[in-house]
Subunit: 388 residues, 2 copies
């Protein structure tokens, strides 16, 4: 039995309506920088207002930084860090999707450590300097997909060099995370499906990971796979179904715990390369588009693990690894995303070569975790199969 | 879907031989009070020596307090706290069974907060004052049963008033825990079985708990139940089987995570009352002795949960809750503890009344978590059935 570690120091508070109890939680400072997207929904649905009122009730002042894009960029980390320093905030709240929470994590690092995010990023043009501190982070996700509320990871795009890279350090685990499925009731079906499949692949990749999976990540992963297969189609079909939203939110958090205890594999590198060049491609849609070809590639390399996932999904005994591919196909059909293809976002075969280069250069380490090492030809073939 | 929290801030390091890497872990101070039992094994097997050498290698001095009894007592908490203060230790290492680690936790509270442990204990003669800090705690279990390495709980007996009470606060989660199954290879079969069943009941009680169980505690509990049913008999039969020892150690840690996320039930109150009066009765043996009568009492009150546990144990579909009772019986036979009875430790029917009073007075709150509230007559009947 292997050696492994488990360290998820985040205080997780899960449940419908729990955002209304934020003021009763232990808060890590006296003034918060609240990081939200450039969209309107955090204001329109009253979530920002609620957070500010709850903070005020606990005697905590706040400042708002509302510029984050769906694919968050490095220059906004710098701008947010400056605002954080100028307004003397002592902790950072990420409210919204993964982009806002990931930017909050990056701001927390840059403010505490000084310098530039790419001083600390590993891979690409990052300098990989050690991170020894960060401002405390509070995560309040309003989507179910990234799992960033219980893992140390963030993904930021450096537009100057077209690098979309994951970063993460012990100090970027959120101190406190409020996962309140009520905040997710208004998400449209398509986004629900994209984000839900992001969570699904965090779990599946962490489970088939050849070297990083552990007994605890396996436990989290199989439960996330089981829950998402069962409840994601329900949440996609009826977004107001609070029970299905709750199950999907919990599965997404579990999948985040997989990311904290195992690791994503090459599938995530393949996708990040695409959305680095095509920022309008939603991360989850990119993953869905390449997933069939990606998982087919390892069908004979992780047979037992494919069958185990299939069994958790279908609740039936599995006799062959392709049962997982079939179950994945059914799930994508039930969520209305079985026809997602790369050409939908303007990607052409002329992109595949630079995708392959970017994938292996910026987050290439993840390919080492695949059940078998993919050749460059196989990588391009995965893009080719996912094209149309 | 219910509301729940998850907070286990402990850094867990799991694996055979990991104690030899202690010096590479982040240590929370410069001088450690190492708390060990009054027995000889920590010295005889070289574990104390190894810990001291590893600490020294990391530049950490240490002092040893070696008086802990199998049922640890309050006066040793006071003596250890005095030694800790006098020798200016800034963290506490619990090395050994649950008794040493629990005492380390109690010392960490008393040194940081001042006063007496019963100032902070809730129940019995405890004053229930809030605990706002504790010295950092490092846990190095050499047995697999208590789960104290990943939960905030400890159990100390106040011999002046015959109260064996559990305590626990956010600050008594260990900062660091090293679970090294190699340290468990020398445990004799009987103790292995007793301790393994302690872990099993942490999981089973946390799973049938009517009000405190959560989606995450259920996940941990069912995996612990599954692993212990399969591997505890193997570890009892051949203590040198490192794989079985590892599986049992991991299951025990998972069961500790159940204690941190759900709670024990009345079974633990019933047992603590017995060993408060009969300190030579091993906690696990006491639990085994009363388990058949205890679980029979709720057979029709938690039917689905009994069946689910039975399915995890036998790997077969269960159609009736008594399948769990049958599987428990098989497991106890395979571990050679199916004939454990209260009379073996000198307990007589004349004790039952004071047991029942002690159980409901000192840790009576746990009865609220049972699938159904037991009457005093039913409590006495459980002792009666477990007598011979």
């Amino acid at each position: 039995m292997q050696k492994f570690g488990l360290y998820i120091p985040t205080r997780l508070v899960f449940g419908a309506g729990e955002l209304k109890n934020l003021s009763q939680q232990p808060l890590p400072g006296k003034k918060a920088l609240i990081v939200i997207s450039s969209g309107t929904s955090m204001k329109k649905y009253g979530y920002l207002d609620l957070v500010q009122k709850q903070l005020a009730q606990a005697g905590v002042e706040s400042e708002v930084f509302d510029k984050i894009l769906p694919n968050p960029i490095k220059s906004h980390v710098e701008e947010g860090a400056q605002l954080c320093r100028d307004s003397k905030c002592d902790f950072v709240v990420g409210l919204g999707g993964g982009s806002s929470i990931d930017t909050a994590k990056a701001i927390a690092v840059v403010v505490a450590m000084g310098g530039d995010l790419w001083d600390y990023v590993q891979g690409g043009h990052g300098k990989g300097k050690p991170v020894t501190r960060a401002l405390p982070i509070v995560a309040i996700p309003t989507t179910a997909g990234t799992g960033t509320e219980v893992d140390p990871w963030g993904v930021i795009t450096n537009t100057e060099v077209n690098e979309k890279i994951g970063f993460g350090f012990e100090h970027t685990f959120p101190t406190l995370s409020i996962v309140d499925p009520e905040l997710m009731l208004t998400l449209p079906p398509k986004l629900t499906a994209y984000q839900g499949f992001d969570a699904f692949f965090h779990a599946a990749e962490g489970y088939i990971n050849r070297t990083q999976h552990t007994p605890i990540s396996d436990l989290y992963a199989l439960e996330a796979v089981r829950l998402l297969y069962k409840y994601l189609p329900v949440a996609v079909a009826d977004g107001r179904d609070l029970r299905a939203r709750s199950k999907v939110a919990w599965a997404s958090t579990l999948a985040g715990m997989v990311e904290a205890t195992s690791s994503c594999t090459g599938e995530h590198s393949l996708e990040h390369a695409m959305s680095a060049f095509y920022p309008k491609l939603p991360h989850g849609a990119g993953l869905i588009a390449i997933s069939k070809a990606y998982y087919k590639a390892f069908k004979n390399d992780a047979m037992k693990r494919y069958m185990k996932m299939a069994e958790k999904m279908t609740m039936q005994k599995s006799a062959r690894p392709s049962d997982f591919l079939d179950a994945l196909d059914i799930m994508q059909r039930e969520c209305g995303v079985d026809n997602v293809k790369l050409s939908d976002w303007g990607i052409t075969p002329a992109d595949f070569d630079r995708f392959a280069t970017n994938a292996t250069e910026t987050m290439g380490g993840l390919f080492d975790f695949d059940p078998r090492f993919l050749t460059r030809e196989e990588i391009i073939d995965i893009y080719q199969q996912s094209y149309k």
